[in-house]
Symmetry: C2
Subunit: 152 residues, 2 copies
DNA sequence: TTTCAATCATCAGTACCACTGACGATCAGA
DNA sequence: TCTGATCGTCAGTGGTACTGATGATTGAAA
């Protein structure tokens, strides 16, 4: 058997045994394909994430949107600027707290969102097709469980 | 039942139903914890990835290392500069092809790598502890399968 | 009421990384 | 020898994270 104690050295892992590598590259590959599918709509996967949160209606301010997406609050300004200039969404000061901007989709934006979300969903399903029907939901469940367990 | 056809609109998904969101945030959370555990060693998870590939011995050049990690070749220059200046690795021109740099760990670097890899492994195991013993390997398998299926 | 700390959106500045395009050195083949 | 390709390097650009500051606004204490 192998010798115990502090001199025990781990075997050199292959790069695709490393969870961080797998998560990073899976994310990048999916994002690349999603961005390609979203290009005809003139938005990125980053934009779609913002539209999704806004369409969900739970966000009460720009910072809520940024917080959910893990985007910096200062980056969110420019991100929403572009989408607002494109007529996809509108900002208006909150009536409850006029420091806040309430962000809402325009009719055009809502239609764009549904079409883009559909395209993104197709990419996801194709991306996970190697896992089978259960595999994809099990993968989501595992990722959710890890995030929930490590939420600080 | 729901109406079919092009007017069928998808329900607005919660952000944590979106695979891209889950992959991104799982990656970021793991990287954050890994970087914290690696800080005493004076390296980042990015550095450890490079050391791992180099320790594996399969890489024949800087660009091989960059290619495996998905790091840009021009970024690899500065990354290795730092590690070389720290005495962790050494570059020497290949004897077979003197355009290439062969990158090798120093004795110091090898010891550092084993200790850092051990710390990173502990973080990974803790990160996946919510999944159980089989869950973690199933997660790796699922991610590997997706990457293999979508390799271009 | 007045004052004051906190919050929100914004902007300026810095840092890091991906990416492009160039360069000299080197290699392989015509 | 000449030519095209490859490798490491460097400069420049663009996008994003992060810090810190600002003005407007809020809520609560004095």
């Amino acid at each position: 058997m192998s010798s115990p104690g502090r001199s025990t050295r781990p075997v050199v892992r292959a790069h695709d045994d490393v969870l961080g590598y797998l998560l990073k590259h899976a994310h990048l590959a999916l994002e690349e394909r999603t961005d390609a599918a979203l290009a005809p709509f003139g938005i990125t996967s980053r934009d779609l994430g913002a539209l999704r949160v806004i369409a969900g209606g739970g966000a009460r301010s720009q910072q809520d949107v940024a917080g959910v997406l893990g985007v910096d609050r200062t980056s969110m300004v420019a991100l929403l600027d572009v989408l607002e200039r494109a007529g996809v969404l509108a900002r208006r000061p909150s009536e409850q707290d006029r420091r806040r901007n309430v962000v809402e989709l325009t009719d055009t934006g809502r239609e764009l969102f549904f079409q883009a979300e559909r395209a993104a969903l197709t990419v996801e399903q194709d991306f996970t097709s190697a896992l089978g029907a259960n595999g994809a939901s099990e993968l989501r469940g595992a990722l959710r469980a890890m995030l929930a367990a490590t939420a600080h």
